[in-house]
């Protein structure tokens, strides 16, 4: 299969830039146009709630590549321009500046946006955090001594809370569910994150959602569902994201909580592919469809799509990996788990360094590490191979993780006679 001569990529952030880069690395010599509605060079978002928000890293440090890279690789950047519509039969994309771009292959890397809080007023002092511009605005507003209320106890909200405490603000987090990180980690893991935040002085309000944001000329507080009011000088809404599926949907692509793609990254439209946050894709290792909101997926699914565009026919199959930095904890996770999954610990999580495991049918499906990056990485193999593992051995600090992993991998390849 040939990729044709013109590839248009819509969405010039992490996935879009990595896709363009990988196309050139794979030898694609045709035209590549990268269209993005943000005015910035493609950048990575993780530091926006961490080092950049703290002022420890410059905004430019998040760039996927310097500008010269795109010139060298003949990747045309159309920044500050939106793709408005796709004419699938003519294979053209209409841009907000009125131009039409013709494509042989189109890649949608439109990502996601911050989920709006229904009924939230557009008041000074109320922020969301998705883009570099959001980050700059929030960083300016983080005045030491100010009172911040974060609505939503997900990763981004908790990272903002951590950064704000470091900047000397008094921080409260409001979460409607009874547990933090309800959608993404087992409750036993969330409990450790909760402990970390309480220890660092974050005022947590769980099991009560925000009902109203108060204020006339600027925000003054947040009213909770039980009627109590938390005074606030600043509010950050971090209640999740919405995938930017509309462009693809309007053109007729199937969308079910994300643009539906196959394991090669093909949407249901001819010659239209997708990668990153916007996709709902089958994960062959997990044996089910997922929509991921992660740096790893943005980078590696985009690279997989680029390879498939030049005809390599390679499935995208990786154990999902995610990390978060909060206070002094680097938290990393492999695999996926539900809120009710039981967790077995290696090490004492209250001591700040531990790995938690969740199993299904004798197999490891999820591992989370607190300040255990290197060791945790070894667990990836176990999830990947689906080998049966001895939970007690994994949790025994006297046994080396490396040895357990090698033994399990060996038995998965050649079952003991």
């Amino acid at each position: 299969m040939s990729a044709g001569r013109r590839i248009v990529i819509v969405g010039a952030a992490q996935a879009g830039a990595r896709c363009a880069e990988a196309l050139r690395a794979e030898g694609f010599a045709g035209r590549i146009v990268l269209v993005g509605d943000e005015k910035h060079l493609p950048y990575e978002r993780p530091a926006l709630s961490k080092a950049v928000l703290l002022g420890e890293a410059a905004p430019e440090s998040t760039e996927v590549h310097p500008r010269a890279f795109y010139d060298e690789k003949s990747i045309e950047l159309r920044l500050g321009v939106r793709a408005e519509a796709i004419a699938t039969s003519a294979q053209r994309v209409l841009l907000s500046d009125g131009a039409w771009l013709t494509y042989d292959r189109l890649v949608l890397c439109t990502g996601s946006r911050a989920r709006p809080l229904a009924g939230a007023p557009d008041l000074p002092g109320v922020h969301t955090l998705r883009t570099l511009d959001d980050c700059a605005a929030l960083a300016r507003a983080l005045a030491p001594g100010a009172r911040l209320v974060v609505i939503g106890g997900g990763f981004i909200g908790l990272e903002v809370a951590s950064s704000a405490v470091k900047r000397g603000l008094a921080v409260a987090v409001v979460e409607r569910q009874d547990s933090l990180l309800e959608r993404v980690v087992p409750r036993a893991v969330a409990a450790q994150v909760e402990r970390l935040h309480r220890l660092n002085g974050v005022d947590l309000h769980l099991g009560r959602g925000a009902q109203r944001i108060l204020g006339q000329d600027r925000v003054t507080g947040v009213e909770l569902q039980d009627g109590s009011v938390l005074p606030a000088d600043l509010v950050v809404i971090g209640i999740g994201i919405v995938p930017n599926t509309e462009l693809g949907e309007a053109a007729g692509a199937r969308s079910e909580d994300g643009l539906v793609v196959d394991e090669y990254g093909r949407t249901t439209l001819a010659n239209v592919w997708a990668a990153g946050d916007v996709t709902s894709h089958p994960n062959p290792i997990l044996g089910r469809r997922v929509r991921l909101e992660s740096w790893q997926n943005a980078q590696n699914q985009a690279i997989a799509v680029a390879r498939n565009l030049v005809g390599q026919e390679r499935r995208y199959a990786e154990v999902p990996w995610f990390w978060s930095d909060q206070f002094d904890a680097n938290i990393q996770m492999y695999g996926l788990a539900g809120p009710g999954d039981a967790v077995a610990w290696r090490g004492d999580p209250a001591g700040g360094k531990a790995i938690g495991f969740a199993f299904a049918g004798g197999r490891l499906v999820f591992a989370v590490g607190f300040n255990m990056g290197g060791e945790l990485r070894l667990a990836r193999r176990l999830i990947e191979t689906g080998a049966e593992v001895d939970a007690a051995a994994l949790c025994d600090p006297a046994r080396k993780l490396k040895d357990i992993v090698s033994a399990a991998a060996a038995s998965a390849v050649a079952p003991a006679a």
């Binding site: 990595r18 880069e21 530091a47 080092a51 890293a57 440090s61 590549h65 740096w295 790893q296 980078q299 690279i303 990996w321 990390w323 680097n330 990056g373 290197g374 990485r377 070894l378 490396k402």
Partner: protein
């Protein structure tokens, strides 16, 4: 140039790595396939020590975003890393792993 002892050879088994600081430099000393290697220990992507990472397939992998560097050459093996780490000459002498460093350079 001078040779510095950095670790007991015995102390490292295959696929193990330790971080050392010598003459102001952070160095990752590791063993793979019975051979010893020494590389700059600070990842060229963002801030992380490679000695907290893992050794696999002739590479050292960063613990933060899994950027990989070739043990022999220090060359990056793909995104997110695009810049090499330094590599240093290594020899084993009297049971000690020695690394050659150029004192003069920063």
């Amino acid at each position: 140039m001078a040779w510095h002892p950095v670790a007991e050879a015995e102390a490292l088994s295959d696929d193990e790595v330790v971080g050392v600081k010598i003459a102001g430099k952070d160095i990752a000393v590791c063993r793979a396939g019975g051979e010893y290697f020494a590389l700059g220990n600070v990842c060229t992507h963002q801030f992380a020590l490679l000695s907290d990472g893992v050794i696999e397939d002739g590479c050292i992998e960063c613990p933060i975003h899994q950027g990989r560097f070739d043990l022999k050459t220090g060359q990056p093996k793909g995104p997110p890393v695009s810049k090499a780490v330094d590599v240093y000459k290594v020899r084993v002498d009297g049971g000690r792993v020695m690394v050659e460093l150029d004192e003069g350079s920063p």
